[in-house]
């Protein structure tokens, strides 16, 4: 799951990125409104955490521009301006959630999780597909046999993305986009290597290869 974090505070930004990474997200950090808007338009993110008081372009304007361009990207607005009317105006401008500063890291993660689940239209808190149950807190997966397998950060992100999109054809480039951060080395061979390692951990049958097209998780195409 890849996130865009737009936060200008030089201490809070990297700190949040670290927390989010720890929680199993790939995070791109941008520290101004103009780059933020551009990144949000150009890259495939699963959600955005957007500060409102940004240099370059105000966060609310960035958000409005995205929405005007027809983007449905889930956005959590993060701001010190948290009077109720500001929250209401934030949602009116197209935010999906609004979190006032100061906030606890757990609160942000919980809201982010809720937002992503809403966006993916799934209601149960645990990801459970094709006999696999993903433990997002501990970043491990429980197999059909009841055995629990530990996952590395990238494996976890890759498996989570595939479990969120079961039965869909996922191209290598799409997987790369949602699993890696923007500045990471995007060699599609790396994905192949990770798929191989995942198959070793969760069994060969769950991930099907479509030659030249990509992968399908969970067997049958709907």
């Amino acid at each position: 799951m890849r996130l865009l974090l737009v936060e200008d505070d030089a201490i809070l930004g990297p700190r949040l990125r670290q927390d989010l990474r720890r929680a199993g997200y790939a995070v791109d950090l941008v520290d101004n409104g103009i780059d933020g808007q551009f990144q949000g338009e150009e890259e495939a993110y699963d959600a955005v955490i957007l500060d409102l008081g940004l240099p370059g372009r105000p966060g609310l304007e960035v958000l409005q521009n995205w929405r005007k361009a027809g983007s449905t990207l889930p956005v959590i607005v993060l701001t010190a301006r948290d009077a109720w009317h500001e929250r209401v105006d934030g949602l009116k401008a197209g935010a999906d959630d609004y979190l006032g500063k100061p906030f606890h890291q757990e609160e942000l993660l919980a809201r982010l999780d809720a937002l992503l689940r809403r966006a993916q239209e799934r209601s149960q808190p645990q990801l459970s597909v094709a006999g696999l149950i993903l433990d997002e807190d501990r970043q491990c997966v429980m197999l059909d046999s009841g055995e629990t397998v530990e996952l590395t950060g990238t494996e976890f992100r890759l498996l989570r993305y595939m479990m969120i999109n079961p039965g869909k054809l996922l191209s290598k480039s799409r997987l790369t986009e949602h699993v890696y951060e923007g500045d990471a080395d995007r060699d599609s061979n790396v994905i192949e290597a990770y798929i191989k390692r995942l198959r070793q951990k969760i069994g060969k049958t769950l991930i099907e290869t479509r030659r030249g097209q990509g992968y399908i998780f969970g067997g049958e195409t709907p």
Binding site: W84, V88, K92, P102, F103
Partner: protein
């Protein structure tokens, strides 16, 4: 009397009546003079005719030449009379006069007099008298004419004039009232606009008004703009302050959350940051309140509440609370949108915080705005409720958990001169908060 319309109507009406009366009097008077002058000049002619016809015999006795007297003077009480008196007390009078004496006065030659007298059968006469000298004698010739017919005509004319004047007066007064009313129409429109402004239907007054009122309207608009901007500016500044304060505060919070921070320090950090945050929150919310009476205030309950509830659903996403709201369809006016959102946000937030699954909220508007928010949480005990209703009691100190939110609610209620009532919800069992905001 403080009505411009009345003042103008009365002022214009009085001056009009005065003018009409003056003109009427002048016309009547001039007519009278004209008639008098005409009559006098005729009398004078007749008088001179009589003088020419006057003869003296050898003894110096005066007689009139035969055939020289107009028939009208021979007909008794015809209304035309003459009377000639000589120096030797000879008197010649017209037959129309019988034996009535017109006047006994004697004039010297060259003297002339005109006056009104009452003649035979109470006829009002205009008398002309002239003194002459003929055949060595001083003669006084008096000629008089009955004016009653002429007076009658004059009176008739005056009455006609009066009637016409009164008719025209009413007509002009009517027109004048219309003009006055039309002239004040822009003011009445302005009044209606000011009402709209109060209700928040418009933000500015129309400046297309008569020249006399325009400076006033422009000034009102300017003040509205200045006040609006000032409120915006101060709210903006507060937002900036919040931003500036909360950045570092946020870092402290994050630091407290950090796994590497020792637990003892964690707790202390947490305590202080929470206290700081609450203090900042309270003062900022308080300073942000606008209060009633600023222009352009309106609140659309359907639009704002829907979004507000979405905000709350996001905050309490793990509780799946059902919000049940009733509100009027039309806009609420005379109440600041930010203030009302702050009030509702805090009330609903509190309710949602303590609710198990249900929050009810109703907004009603009649002479005041009535807001009821109740939840199905644990509520507060009777004792706590009693403490809360104490005058001057600070809610945030007394009610743990129902902290800050209700303190701000109380502030808002105070600046709107309203009332706040806390009790147990009869339907849901939790806390019920009833707020009334005065609309004046």
């Amino acid at each position: 009397m403080n009505s411009l319309t009345k003042r103008l109507n009365i002022g214009l009406g009085l001056s009009l009546i005065l003018l009409m009366a003056l003109i009427g009097w002048l016309i009547v008077d001039q007519n009278q003079r004209l008639v008098d002058d005409l009559v006098v000049s005729r009398l004078q002619h007749d008088g001179e005719g009589l003088l020419a016809a006057l003869q003296f015999d050898a003894e110096g006795k005066a007689t009139m030449a035969e055939g020289s007297i107009a028939a009208i003077y021979r007909q008794p009480l015809s209304g035309h009379y003459f009377y000639i008196a000589t120096e030797k007390d000879d008197v010649i009078r017209s037959r129309s006069l019988w034996d009535v004496e017109l006047s006994s006065e004697k004039l010297v030659a060259g003297e002339q007099r005109v006056r009104r007298i009452t003649g035979p059968s109470e006829q009002p006469l205009l008398l002309w008298a002239g003194g002459y000298r003929k055949a060595g004698q001083n003669i006084t010739i008096m000629v008089a004419e009955d004016l009653s017919l002429l007076q009658q005509r004059l009176l008739e004319n005056a009455i006609l004039l009066l009637i016409l004047t009164v008719i025209f007066l009413f007509l002009i007064l009517f027109i004048q009232r219309r003009i006055v009313r039309d002239s004040f129409a822009p003011l009445r429109k302005l009044g209606r606009e000011i009402e709209q402004l109060e209700r928040g239907d418009i933000d500015q007054l129309t400046e297309a008004v008569p020249l006399e009122v325009q400076p006033l309207v422009v000034e009102v608009n300017r003040l509205l703009m200045v006040m609006g901007r000032r409120l915006d500016r101060s709210r903006n500044a507060l937002g900036n302050l919040a931003h500036a304060l909360k950045g570092p505060l946020n870092l402290l919070t994050q630091l407290a959350d950090d796994k590497e921070t020792p637990d003892t320090l964690k707790q202390e950090l947490h305590q202080h940051t929470t206290a700081l945050q609450q203090q900042i929150e309270h003062e900022l919310s308080r300073a942000r309140l606008a209060g009633a009476g600023s222009a352009g205030q309106r609140f659309n309950p359907a639009e704002e509440l829907t979004v507000l509830i979405t905000v709350l659903e996001r905050i309490y996403h793990d509780k799946k609370i059902k919000f049940d709201c009733e509100y009027p369809e039309q806009n609420l006016t005379n109440v600041d949108r930010h203030d009302l959102l702050e009030l509702l946000g805090n009330l609903l937030d509190n309710a949602a915080k303590w609710a198990q699954a249900k929050v009810r909220c109703s907004i009603e508007k009649n002479d005041a705005i009535h807001i009821v928010v109740e939840d199905d949480g644990a509520g507060v005990s009777e004792q706590e409720l009693n403490t809360l209703t104490e005058r001057g009691h600070r809610i945030d100190e007394s009610l743990p958990g129902h902290g800050l939110g209700l303190a701000i609610v109380k502030e808002i209620v105070e600046i709107y001169d309203g009332s706040l009532l806390l009790d147990r919800s009869p339907k849901l069992g939790g806390l019920r908060v009833q707020v009334s905001l005065s609309l004046n």
